[in-house]
Each structure stands twice: as C-alpha cells, then as structure tokens.
C-alpha cells in the first residue's frame, strides 16, 4: 500500500544537519526545530546570522511560519547569541551548563558555518562539529546545523553528513545512520531534493563495509529522479564490489524499480518480506 499519506516522522532531536533546498525550506526547518523545543520546554539558543541577527527578527521569522515564541523570548527560554559567545568549546559548554542550571529539561542550539564564518576557520569548524556530536551523546544537547543551500556551502555534504549522527535532511526528507553501513530514509524525495539523497547515500557508502543497507520503510515517496540518484550515488561503491541492499520497499517502489530497471543495481527486499523475516 501507498505510504504517501504517512506523515514524515519528527526528526528535530539530536545532532542534525539541515540542508534545505531553498530559503523557504530553511525557514520552515528552523520553525520546526523551534516548535519542537517549545513543545518540550527546552532552552533554545540561536546563533545570530544574516537571516536573523536579533531576537526580534528571529521572532518575526518564526511568526511567519506559524510559531509563536514571544513569551519564550521574554522569559529567556529563547535567546539569540552572538557567534563569539557560541563558537568555542568553552563558550558552548558554558551556555549549556547555564541552561541546565536554570532548570530546563533540555537544550537545543541552532547555528551553522555561515554564522561561524567570522569566528572559525574551516578546520576549526569541523573540530567544533565533533564537540556538538559529543554534546549530544553525553549531555543530550540537540544541535541543528544549518548548512544553507548545500550547493553553495563551503564544505562538501559528504563529509558534513558523516559528522551528524542523528540525521541529515530538511522538511520533506531526512536520513539517519544508526550504525555504519545502515541508512534509514524518511519522507519524500523528488527533483527538489534528490541531490540531498545522493550526497547522504554517498557519505554512507564511504563508511560502509561490504554491504550498504538502505532502509526504505519510512520512504513515503521516491520519484524516478530519486531512484536514479540512488543508482548514481552508489555506483562507485558497487563497482568496487559493494552490495547495496534496499529493505522495506513498498509494492509501488518495487514496481517503479522494475519498470526503470534500476532495481537490477540493488538487492531488493519488500516491506512484507522484511516483516515476515522479523
């Protein structure tokens, strides 16, 4: 049966890489991140950038997306901080420690290479990402890293994706790698975001051993361009002898893979077969 009517699961917790395909998608992602934090009663720390340089401008942007956060700003639950108060291990640790000391049950931050640009070199930024990864695993700090329209970002998405264990994506599609060699795909992929899928899968293939397992159980929709992106993104891996296994496929997925011939590139396992096996 179709999964098109299935909502995309919430993925706004953890160390996340937001790679929106457009400015609109970027704002929608920030709004979803903020709404999730407000719902959980967490402290929200946003690094000032060109898009939202002050609390007022952030509140306006959120309001346009239907997120009302004025009260949170008044109480200090939502704050906008300057990059130099955020982009060092000590500064970040201080912000987190203060937030927990204020009694918040959780902390979430939102930044990215554009905001860090004036403060950190590219290498320093990569090291800072390691810090964010550790802060999620040791202190449960959710960090949303906005890389802007990924086509224009300085870092390659392949290496950036490898640094964000909780997932990579945007509103319509996201992927998470719970372990090396396994990638769970969620949401919808079409021409608007198939390049994101390709980059994420390429990144996953560089960390996989002999087999790359792509769990499609949460994939509500994949266009022809999406399947083609999967074929192309895994080509080097397959040519080197690697096996790409697609699991949790819907009947429609299988039909499109058969029609296009793309299915011959992969080992296929339907959702039913997977259910029976488990």
């Amino acid at each position: 049966l179709t999964r098109l009517s299935t909502p995309v699961p919430n993925w706004w917790d953890g160390h996340l890489l937001l790679v929106p395909a457009s400015t609109v998608a970027d704002r929608a992602g920030i709004a979803a991140w903020a709404q999730r934090g407000l719902d959980l009663g967490e402290k929200l720390i946003y690094v000032a950038d060109a898009g939202s340089s002050s609390t007022d401008s952030l509140l306006s942007s959120l309001a346009r997306q239907g997120v009302e956060a004025a009260d949170a700003a008044t109480t200090g639950q939502l704050v906008v901080v300057e990059p130099d108060h955020f982009y060092s291990v000590d500064a970040y640790d201080r912000l987190v420690t203060e937030a927990y000391a204020q009694g918040y049950p959780g902390v979430r931050t939102c930044g990215g290479p554009h905001a860090a640009g004036p403060i950190l070199s590219e290498d320093q930024f990569v090291r800072f990402e390691h810090t964010l990864e550790q802060m999620w695993t040791t202190r449960q700090v959710s960090a949303l890293c906005r890389y802007g329209a990924f086509k224009t970002m300085d870092h390659s998405l392949d290496s950036a994706a490898a640094q964000h264990s909780s997932g990579v994506g945007e509103q319509q599609f996201h992927a998470r790698s719970p372990e090396p060699g396994r990638l769970c795909l969620n949401g919808e992929v079409d021409t608007a975001n198939d390049t994101i899928l390709a980059a994420v899968v390429t990144a996953a293939s560089t960390r996989a051993g002999h087999t790359l397992l792509l769990d499609c159980q949460g994939l509500a929709f994949a266009s022809v361009s999406a399947w083609r992106a999967l074929v192309e993104a895994t080509e080097a891996f397959r040519q080197a002898g690697g096996e790409v296994r697609l699991t949790g496929l819907s009947k429609l997925d299988e039909r499109v893979l058969r029609i296009t011939g793309f299915g011959s590139c992969f080992a296929l396992e339907s959702a039913t077969a997977q259910g029976n096996a488990s």
Binding site: L1, T2, L4, S5, Q172, E188, D190, T191, A192, F221, S223, V224, S225, R228, S250, K251, L252, R255, V256, I259, T260, G261
Partner: protein
C-alpha cells in the same frame, strides 16, 4: 523462406488456419534459434499450444503474454526492457505474438497506435517482431492498420515487402490525440491547483482528493506517482504558470497538467526508450508515467501551452 537481417523489423503474419499458423511461424522461429536470438512466443490462446507442440525446443520461450500485453504502453516498454537486456548480451530479440484489440474503442485506438509506435520505439534495437493476425476474426479496419504499419507481410506463400506501409511520422500524426477536452473535463474539477512550482504539494492534495473520492489506495499510488512525474516535467521544461485540474467520477479519474510554455511538439514524448541502448534517450519521467496510468496524452493548444492528461479507470 528467409528474413532480412536488418536491425529492427516489424512484420505481420496473416493466417487462416492452425496449419497456416505453424507453417508460416516455423521459419521465423527456427531461423532465430539457429542465429542464437532470444526467441519468445507470446499468446494465451490455443495457438500457443499448437506452436508449443511444433517447437519442442528449450531455446524457444513461451509466455502467455498476460503481463506484457496488459496495455499498449506497457507492451512497448516491456519490449524495450527485453531488447535492452538481450541486445546488451549480444542477442537479437525475436518475438511473435497476437494483437488483442478488443471491443472498447479507446483501447482499440491505443493498440492501433501501438502498431505504429513499435517501429519508432524499438528502432534503436536489434528486434524482429512478427505480429499474428487471424484473418478469420480480424475486422477489415484492423487489417488495414496492419498493412500500414508492418515492414513485410508473411503468409504461407512467402514473405512479401509491404508496399502499403506508411511512414511512422505520417501515420502517428494521423493517430495523434486531438486537443478536444476529455468528456470528464466538462464536469466541475474535483481539485484545482494554480501556480505550481514543485510536485510535492500536488501529490498530497491529489492523493487526499482521490481517497476522498473512493479510489482504492492500490490504484491511487501509481496514479499519483504518474501525476508527480508529469508535474515535474512541466515545472522543469515548461513555463509558468503550471496548473493542475483533477476530474473524476465513479469509473474514471483524469488529471490535466498544463503549462504556459511553447508546447510539446511531439505528442509521443515519453515513448522512446530511456535506456542506455538508445543513443537518443531522453528523460525517464514521462516514460514511467505512461506505464503507471491507463492513458497519457500530450496536446498543445492553438496558442501554445502543453497539456498532459493522465487517466486511470477504477473499474479494472
């Protein structure tokens, strides 16, 4: 009796008895086996039983044809897939099968188009097709189409160059859909979406409308995917604005996707093989969309603007 060894040959076999069927098919099959071709005999009727008895050879494949002849579009695409697979392995494809035009005038028109499209759609491939027409049961107007669309006429008397064959371009122009609106388009649209810039929101709204209209999920998902591919094509290759109109009744649903671009000059876009074996391959989206719905037509309005209509029957 021998057959020309050119790359793509599409012949018609006329027979009036079982003996004639076997006699005329025998050299086609045996020549194929001797040449190392991939030989396949389609047909669910008793003719296949007759032919199976005649060619008791494991190198000859038999298939009921239920899947490949599900629809005219599916048949063309399936032949393209088989040719892609076999040609790349160094084998020519040699297939014979019956045409089932049926009584439905719309379906019948699709199969008439099919006979002309085979010549175009399989042109890049090493393919040898022999369509079987039973002269006892085939109506004259369909025999006329057979004469217009095949390279040679095969009978027990021999193989003859078909002087009645018309050029594909000419024939396909005559068989092309007109810009007349579908009867469903005279009813109020179930859904109207304007100024579309991405396929995602269209998918969601169309699916909601289909499910509300009682379309079973199993029919809806392929249809929505076809519409998504058509919208993607309009957004990428047409010009704003792109609009969608969805119509439906208890039996059939139709979605018309229109853009304000110069139009699509070739109403058969999405028929040609998108595979590697075709040096002129284009995008795959419309080709797949054609296979996920019952019918896909492309028309261009008098002042430009392409309209792609996709439809499904929910009675099937």
């Amino acid at each position: 009796m021998t057959f020309e060894a050119v790359d793509c040959v599409h012949d018609v076999l006329l027979f009036g008895s079982d003996d004639e069927l076997v006699a005329a098919t025998t050299p086609f099959v045996l020549d194929g086996v001797a040449a190392g071709d991939f030989v396949i005999v389609y047909g669910g009727d008793r003719h296949v039983a007759v032919l199976r008895d005649a060619f008791d050879d494991p190198r000859v494949h038999f298939d009921t044809g239920t899947d490949i002849y599900r629809s005219a579009t599916s048949a063309i695409a399936e032949y393209q897939r088989i040719c892609e697979r076999e040609n790349s392995a160094g084998r020519r494809v040699r297939a014979t099968g019956p045409l089932s035009f049926g009584d439905n005038p719309v379906i019948r028109a699709q199969w008439m188009q099919y006979e002309a499209l085979v010549n175009r759609a399989l042109r890049p491939y090493r393919f040898f097709g022999l369509c079987r027409y039973d002269t006892r049961t085939t109506p004259p107007e369909l025999l006329d189409i057979a004469f217009q669309t095949h390279h040679h006429v095969v009978t027990t008397e021999g193989t003859f160059h078909n002087d009645g064959k018309r050029t594909e371009d000419q024939l396909l122009r005559d068989l092309a859909p007109t810009d007349e609106p579908d009867p469903l388009e005279t009813t109020p649209p179930v859904l109207a979406i304007d100024d579309i810039s991405a396929p995602g929101p269209v998918r969601h709204e169309v699916l909601r409308a289909l499910l509300s209209g009682g379309v079973p999920l199993v029919r809806a998902d392929g249809f929505v995917t076809a519409i998504s591919e058509v919208v993607t094509n309009a957004v990428q290759h047409g010009r704003p604005q792109v609009i969608v109109r969805l119509y439906g009744d208890r039996h059939r649903w139709l979605c018309a996707v229109t853009d304000d671009g110069p139009g699509i000059s070739d109403p058969y876009t999405g028929i040609d093989s998108p595979f590697v074996g075709n040096p002129d391959r284009n995008g795959m989206g419309l080709w797949v969309a054609r296979q996920l719905c019952d019918q896909l037509t492309i028309t261009t309005g008098p002042t430009g603007g392409a309209t792609v209509r996709v439809s499904v029957s929910i009675d099937r």
